[in-house]
Amino acid sequence: MIKYIKTIALIAAVFIAGCKDNYFADGGGPVNTTGQLGVTTMQYLQDNPASFDTLARLIKLTGLEGTVNQKGNTFFAPRDYSINNYFKLLYPDPANRPATLDALPQDTKDEIAHILKDYIIPNQEILRDNLATTYSYATTGGGKKARFNLVTTDYLGNVNMGAKFVNFSLNTSATAAEQYKTVQIATADLRSTNGIVHVLASESHIFGFN
């Protein structure tokens, strides 16, 4: 009899322990808190030096921290690889490349500041859920026209199935005829304490939409 009781007690213990509400499989927590960074946009960039340390330094160098951290804006974060390719383009010969970012000539710094503003959509939160497969438009901090659309791909070529990606395109044409260059967003809808952050795919994207 004691044996049965022990067995039942053991099973009961297992069942009770098994019913705990902790998630182990999906990272835990209710859905609406995923993507919450809990820090400002700038702080997030500094906390991820593997992807963004050059970007963070450029933002500081050009004095755009305030603009990046402005309430209610959207920031598209180019990864360091894209910025590295930008400098490669700027200085094809590594010997002529300035040793530090601080040593960049002033007109280059101005140019970078100008480019950075095109990665910011002020006073507007661009979220994936509000976008569609048709184009929608916004104006960047640099005054250029930005274009957004969703594409769906499941890697097998099936139409309208699989993951939804956001495409961020910028009108780089100097004339009235619009010419958009497109970059895909790798990680979308990160919510910092001041706004939205999207991380851009870095493979073929070069800082400044070159």
Binding site: T152, T153, N167, Q179
Partner: protein, 508 residues
């Protein structure tokens, strides 16, 4: 227990009873031996055609089916990797590690690149040609003397071409002119190989026709006088016999068999191969079952949606490089070749739909321009790609002649041929007439005209200038043989006479 005993007994009986059949000793009745294979004219035709088929496969690359030491499943269009990838003009927008290693001349350590160091299929084509040359003379049944001479010349041309192509890739290569070889062959000096190529072409020339039967594509996928003369001229350029090269190309021009097509006819040249400009090309035709699938054609890696179902680019020329190579286009968009050779695709459209081609060929960014010189695919699943692979065409030999003439002091003649190409492209004629400047311009023009056509690296290696354009190769390295591909491990098996290229003895 009893049942088990019975079952065991039955199993033993079954195995024992069947294993003694003499299956292995039975001779298949359809075995073709060498004696039976060369009897009629049709056998002779087939033998020479087979040699050309092996050569085509040699250019597209070794696969696991060809040799056990090869790791990769399909061929990759190796003619591109031998002739173009190390020119310093190319990038891999999706950061493919194998391509990057290829660009940077790290050709040994990556196992996936190992097949590119193996010349086995070139020598299989050579052996097939040798066998045909040995056996065809004895055939009398269903073969006229005239056709026999032509087939022999055809086989001789292919044998010379295979040696020449291998020599451009590996430098010193074995010369094999015998059908059955039991001696381990060592490598012959590059110059000796090239001299052999020239003398073989001279033997073959009288019996080769200017045109074969059939359409242009069919005609110029086999040996002709034009192809043989182009081969001879290329070989003579390596031997620095510039007058000889110029004379050979003059014969091609005087024959009036070929013409420079207009810029708007270039599409037909690269899509179908039915063009008056083609001198020699690799034959494909899906209608006749001659095509390559995903593997085997370099177009797989150049193209994306809307031409194939790939969504990103694997191999491309960066935009800054295009503007550097085509300065006239950078200045006023005059060079008609840029829109023919490059395209920008609207990457904002989903990969599961047909992406539109943008009107401005260079609208996309630095790493997003598609190399679209070869862009004919049968359908978006990559299957049945039958675009031809040009090997010699008139623009190529005209520019070669311009270089040869400029080097032998005939600058006026050089300028006339150089300017034919420039006029077709719609760029201003070149007027400076001091030889070194003209030679430099001819080289730049070859780079523009023949970009992605598997000539650039050979041009640079021939002139010892690969190190000027590829930062991963040093001047001393190139003197030691860095411009050539290393010799595969397979070539060393049971061959005490084989030697690795000096540079590759110390560099991986």
């Amino acid at each position: 227990m009893k049942n088990r005993l019975i079952a065991t007994f039955l199993l033993i009986v079954m195995l024992g009873g069947t294993s003694c059949k003499k299956w292995l000793d039975e001779k298949p009745i359809n075995t073709v031996t060498e004696d039976q294979a060369y009897r009629t004219g049709a056998d002779a035709e087939g033998a020479v055609a087979a040699a050309f088929a092996i050569f085509r496969r040699a250019l597209s690359g070794l696969t696991k089916d060809d040799t056990p030491s090869t790791t990769r499943n399909g061929s990759w269009g190796d003619y591109y990797f031998w002739g173009d990838s190390r020119s310093g003009d190319w990038i891999t927008p999706n950061n493919d590690g194998d391509w990057t290693a290829g660009f940077q001349n790290h050709l040994i350590s990556r196992t996936e690149l190992e097949p590119m160091t193996n010349w086995r299929l070139f020598y299989r084509a050579i052996e097939q040609a040798n066998l045909a040359i040995e056996k065809i003379p004895a055939i009398t049944n269903g073969l006229t003397d005239e056709r026999k001479a032509q087939l022999l010349a055809d086989a001789r041309f292919l044998r010379a071409l295979s040696h020449f192509y291998a020599a451009r890739i590996w430098g010193d290569v074995p010369i094999n002119l015998q059908a059955r070889n039991v001696q381990p062959l060592g490598r012959s000096r590059l110059n000796d190989v090239l001299k052999m190529v020239v003398s073989e072409v001279d033997i073959a020339l009288p019996d080769l026709p200017w045109m074969n039967k059939g359409t242009r594509k069919e005609s110029f996928s086999r040996g002709t006088k034009g192809a043989a003369l182009a081969l001879k001229a290329h070989a003579l350029m390596w031997l620095k016999d510039y007058q000889g090269a110029s004379a050979a190309i003059k014969q091609i021009m005087d024959s009036n068999t070929f013409r420079l097509v207009a810029a708007n006819e270039l599409r037909a040249l690269f899509d179908t191969g039915e063009s008056d400009e083609i001198i020699f090309e690799m034959y494909y035709d899906a209608k006749k079952g001659e095509y390559s699938n995903y593997y085997g054609h370099i177009m797989t890696y150049y193209l994306t949606n809307p031409y194939t179902d790939r969504t990103n680019l694997s191999l491309a020329v960066p935009k800054s490089k295009i503007l550097e190579i085509f300065p006239d286009y950078a200045r006023d968009k005059s060079d008609k070749r840029v829109p023919e050779f490059f395209q920008s695709i609207d990457f904002s459209v989903s990969g599961s739909e047909l992406r539109p081609v943008l009107p401005d060929p260079l609208q996309n960014g630095e790493r997003d321009i598609m190399f679209a010189k070869f862009r004919k695919v049968k359908d978006r699943t990559y299957n049945q790609m039958d675009a031809p692979v040009p090997i010699f065409r008139l623009a190529d030999v005209l520019l070669l002649k311009a270089e040869a003439d400029a080097r032998s002091g005939n600058v006026t003649e050089a300028l006339s041929n150089l300017n034919k190409i420039r006029e077709r492209a719609g760029i201003p004629v070149f007027t400076r007439d001091d030889a070194p400047v003209v030679i430099e311009e001819v080289l730049a023009e070859r780079r523009r005209e023949l970009i992605g056509e598997f000539h650039r690296v050979y041009d640079l290696v021939r002139l010892g200038r690969l190190h000027e354009f590829n930062p991963y190769i040093t001047a001393q390295g190139e003197k030691d043989g860095a411009g050539f591909f290393p010799v595969s491990d397979e070539a060393f098996a049971n061959n005490p006479n084989m030697e690795q290229t000096y540079y590759w003895q110390f560099n991986q």
